[in-house]
């Protein structure tokens, strides 16, 4: 699969390394080149400096041929906007978006976006640890 990941923070870099290890073709997009230090030395994918809200940058990252797009920057709204551009403008078949705010996550999930809220998931996991 050809996968574009927006945001090379801890999660983005880790995900990129895992997918790369599975043999997928991975392109990372981040506004700060310094964040690419998080990638393992044997990473075979592409790392590009660019803003995932900019259609030109997305095209350079190969969004037009991508099978999947993931937005994991620190900004919920940035993730939401980039994911919608990938889905609605570039018709990427599979898009996933991280949204920290549970209420916003619920709203966009109702609007048909595939979303994950680490806040909700982690709180539930902690509860299970504590109660179980």
């Amino acid at each position: 699969m050809k996968i574009v990941i927006m945001g090379c923070g801890r999660v983005g870099a880790r995900l990129a390394a895992l997918l790369d290890g599975d043999g997928h073709s991975v392109t990372l997009l981040d506004t700060d080149a310094y964040s690419f230090r998080r990638l393992p030395p044997d990473f075979k994918g592409t790392a590009l400096v660019g803003n995932g809200l900019d259609q030109e940058a997305l095209k350079r990252a190969g969004i037009e041929e991508a099978d999947a797009f993931v937005a994991v920057t620190q900004g919920d709204n940035r993730n939401v906007m980039a994911t919608q551009i990938a889905k609605r403008i570039f018709k990427v078949p599979k898009v996933v978006c991280r949204i920290y705010d549970p209420l916003r996550q619920e709203l966009y999930s109702n609007l048909g976006l595939e979303t994950l809220s680490p806040t909700t998931i982690f709180a539930q996991m902690l509860r299970e640890r504590l109660e179980g």
Binding site: L53, D54, G75, V80, Q84, D101, L103, R104, L107
Partner: protein, 230 residues
């Protein structure tokens, strides 16, 4: 009307001031507490401290009864989300977003935002108007019809100078709406109006015919063959 303004920067402040002056009920939602304080000191308690993209904040300011939400923060993505939350969660009938990247106009339209105002494009157009050598200025887009209202300056060397409008090989589907002569009052041109050097012509055209219209009014051509060269 009850209007919610998201973003209390300069644009949000002056916009709200104008809307209040027109007698509307206005609430500003601003993230920065000190901006809120300043606005409340100057305009009276109209500013609520909070994130205008959050459902909780928008519920607090009574967004479900708002007639309109205008998002004017400096970030396109925040304006998009504020408008989408307002529209889908609170069913606000009209949402307006400010955008900085002119490209986003199409994106926002596709994503259901009613109106976008591109501050970059607006400023650019005004600057173009002030540049005297600029051959053609876009004054207004009538988007749903694909029409443009443009202003064209007639240079002295143009073949159109000294000709009456009926003698011009104007492309079909374009119309000259106004001729502004330097020393006379602007007038709605008739077929017999003569074009003079340094006139400004306001015309209505489709985007595709813009180039041809510009060549007719600014280029050199001979009356028998309207094919022109820049």
């Amino acid at each position: 009307m009850y209007i919610i303004v998201v973003g209390g920067g300069r644009l949000g402040y002056y916009l709200s001031k104008a809307l209040l002056h027109e007698g509307h009920e206005v609430v500003i939602v601003e993230k920065n507490a000190s901006f809120c304080q300043i606005i409340n000191d100057e305009l009276g308690g109209v500013c609520v401290h909070g994130d205008g993209c959050e459902t909780v904040t928008l519920a607090e300011v009574g967004t479900s009864r708002a007639d309109m939400l205008i998002a004017v923060t400096g970030d396109d993505e925040d304006n998009l989300v504020a408008c989408q939350v307002a529209k889908h969660k609170f069913e606000v009938p009209r949402t307006i977003a400010r955008i900085r990247n002119p490209q986003n106009e199409i994106v926002f339209k596709e994503l259901g935002i009613d109106v976008t105002v591109s501050s970059t494009s607006v400023i650019l157009e005004h600057i173009q108007e002030e540049v005297p050598t600029h051959p053609l200025t876009h004054l207004l887009s009538i988007r749903d019809q694909g029409l443009e209202v443009v202003e064209i300056r007639i240079p002295a060397e143009s073949s159109a100078v000294g000709k009456r409008i009926k003698e011009l090989p104007l492309p079909m589907g374009t119309r000259l709406a106004l001729v502004i002569h330097q020393t006379q009052k602007p007038k709605v041109p008739s077929a017999d109006t003569t074009i003079r050097a340094e006139d400004r012509v306001i015309a209505i055209t489709s985007s595709e015919l813009e180039e041809e219209l510009r060549n007719t009014l600014r280029g050199t051509w001979t009356a028998t063959s309207p094919e022109t060269e820049g």
